[in-house]
């Protein structure tokens, strides 16, 4: 029996998580604690406290005892209507709607969609917290005649160590990495962590030809994407030309806490930022489709 992953959600057909159509696996758990997180219920692991059970209107949640006698939340996805009351009940902002998948189960699921997809992407939460599972899954895909044509991508906050990246590198086709701020203190303010390892990851992946996309989140007056535009443009132009530079506009949807008081990024602001980056020689810019 191989590794098991804790999964928040699987989307069978996505057009926005890497090249072509992709099956996307959102793993539960994150080591950043971004004030602006759009899906905070993916950050913490459910500790089976049971508070959500009583509030579920369709009894899709129950508290059972596992073999070791520990209590455990069981989620019945067939009954669930996705009303998400459990998410607002949870004192940890976690989600009880998680599921364990073995590598074999995941492969079976991928095989059911294989004609429709160009590859798979693991995302999160922070996918790389479950790196051993990812490695086994990617390895198995690359070793299967019927799946080896699928590209294997990781969508990450970039906090994985160099050693970690090296382990997955032989099976990795590309990565999408978030750069949430240029200055270390700003990054720490937003995410709770420094950004040195993010830069190391970007450097390593770029050198290996596996940096598919760098994502910049523009939060007006909070992130320093605009005030540091010269430095950022200088950095981006050093990256290989093939790297897509995706600009994300901060919005309030899903956000809880103080970040709800921050200004959102308008289309106009985004276009101005894009123009300034273009002026400074940054190519391959990808702008948001919608501003919500």
């Amino acid at each position: 029996m191989g590794r098991v992953a804790t999964v928040n959600q699987i989307i069978p057909f996505s057009c926005v998580d890497g090249p072509g159509s992709r099956l996307v696996i959102f793993l539960q758990g994150c080591n950043f604690n971004c004030k602006n997180c759009h899906n905070p219920y993916t950050i913490d692991m459910c500790d089976s406290c049971g508070d959500c059970v009583a509030t579920c209107p369709v009894n899709a949640l129950s508290l059972n005892l596992d073999k070791q006698g520990k209590s455990k939340i069981v989620w019945d996805s067939d009954k669930c209507t996705q009303c998400d009351i459990c998410l607002s009940t949870c004192p940890k902002q976690s989600s009880p709607k998680i599921r364990q998948y073995s590598v074999e189960q995941m492969l079976e699921l991928i095989r059911r969609q294989v004609h429709f997809i160009n590859g798979i992407t693991v995302s999160g939460g922070e996918a790389t917290l479950q790196l051993p599972f990812i490695i086994e899954l990617f390895q198995a895909i690359k070793a299967s005649d019927d799946l080896s044509h699928l590209s294997c991508m990781i969508d990450s906050n970039g906090y994985l160590t160099e050693g970690g990246w090296q382990q997955v590198m032989p099976y990795l086709d590309g990565a999408m990495i978030d750069l949430k701020s240029w200055q270390e203190h700003t990054h720490r303010y937003i995410t709770g962590r420094d950004n040195h390892r993010v830069f190391s990851s970007l450097k390593l992946l770029a050198a290996e030809g596996k940096l598919y996309e760098i994502r910049l989140l523009y939060i007006p007056k909070i992130s320093d994407i605009d005030s540091e535009v010269n430095a950022i443009a200088g950095y981006l132009t050093q990256l290989p030309d093939s790297v897509r530079v995706k600009l994300n506009a901060f919005q309030h949807h899903g956000v809880t806490g103080e970040a709800r008081l921050w200004d959102t990024c308008s289309e106009q602001q985004m276009l101005e930022l894009a123009a300034r980056l273009t002026e400074r020689g940054v190519g391959n810019l990808v702008l948001p489709n919608v501003y919500l």
Binding site: I11, P12, F13, S14, C15, V16, D17, P19, G20, S21, R22, F26, H38, N39, T42, P57, V58, D78, K79, C80, T81, Q82, C83, D84, I85, L87, S88, R112, Q113, H115, F116, I117, N118, S123, G124, D155, N248, H252, H253, G254, T256, R260, L261, V286, N289, V290, L292
Partner: protein, 517 residues
Amino acid sequence: MTVKNRLAQITRDPNLSPKQKSNFLALEAEASLPYMAISDAVSEAKNSGIICDMFEGNAPFKPRYVLPDYAKFLQNGSEYLELSPAQDLDEALNALTIIYHHVPSVTNIPVYLGQLDDILLPFCQGLEPEAIYRKLKLFWIMLDRTLPDAFMHVNIGPTDNIVCRTILRVDAELKQIAPNLTFMYDPEITPDELLQVAASNICECSKPHIANYPLHANSFDDKGFGIVSCYNSLPLAGGANTLVRLNLKQVALKASSVGDFFTQVLPHYCQLTYELIDARAKFLHEESNFFNSFLVKEGLIEESRFAPMFGIYGMAEAVNILQGSPDFNEDNIDKPSSHYGHNAAANALGHKISKALDGIVKSTQVKYGYNGLALLHSQGGISIDKDVTPGVRIPYGTEPNPIAHIQALAEHHQYYTSGISDILTIDETVKANPQAMMQLCKGALSLGFREFTANVASNDLVRVTGYMIKLSDIASFKAEGSRTNTTWLGAEAAQNTKILERQPRVVAHEHTPAYSK
């Protein structure tokens, strides 16, 4: 209303062009003739909405769809039209422009314009690509402006050639509703790169439809086939003499059990459908004198290549009724769902109905058919249909994700020789990623889809990286300002979220067939 009053109303209608008025007046005139002789049982089934003659008229004097052999026409010219064989691209386009006005159909406008890349390619030798582009672009504009009907249908592919590529280029540039366009795809012949051009076009303008060429070609003989109007596959140099459709929802309502449906009720109404088909075909072939036309005399069509289309619709409702499932709506999201499109047993029952229909159609001889048979057709609906879903489709607004959607319906496609369409709704994120559209198309065709059709729309449900969001939630969320509690996650939002109804609507695929006011 008396006939006289209706005629007066049509002539005075401020919203119709003179040509449209002429058409409706002609329909009224035809409707004033006595209906062909049919039995009381057929008449009753017709009046109660179980069988529908598609408003083709009381005295059908033209076939529903006609697919002339345009290659032959360009090669031979036409004595009737006083045209000599075409010598170059200009002459070919001019000759086609002329003949299109002499090709009838149920809409009075041709529904088939030909396999244009095949028939025009011989006239493009020695022409610069830009010259071909300019000529085809003018031709395309002419088609849209003079034959304003989106049922008018051009076929291209599966080979890679300059005309095919130029038509794709022109079509994406002009984004006209007419002509409709089908690109034939054959994995053995069509390069991926060309399919990618077609898939990118879908993201631009929701055209072309992508047809499973080997599957269609194997359903017809060596003389070939064409795809006309909206997803009707028919023999080339022939066509459909009539289309009669059966409302499976109404049939299911007459059945006392699933067994009764299969052994008694369905065969009974199929037999009545055939009675109507025979009556209509008989009038067209024996009394209307249509087959004395120059199209026949000059060998552009052959009477023996016309077949009736046996259409069905309302499969979704029929299955749900037979299974005793309650209506599917946002107040009643039973989980796990027992509904058609969402439940394995429901889907299997649907496949079984299609198979039974296939058995009936393949074993029932008709006097005027293709090899003596009618062709089974999954009918795309007309604008008067209420509370009944076209063909074998999953009801609008209740569609699962595109892959589950395809998987639920693929098995039907083998049975519907004269066409079936399932329209997949893909959210707008695909626009920035046409490769995903192509892969979805390939997946659908490899599972046995006859034709891949996608609507790219701004769904209310939008996928943003990492999560799904609902646009309407966000609108109300923004309007409510900076409330600190996460109401958008709460019960109220869940109750008010008519998420199941929010798939973009797909408009009916035939005009209002008669004047209605």
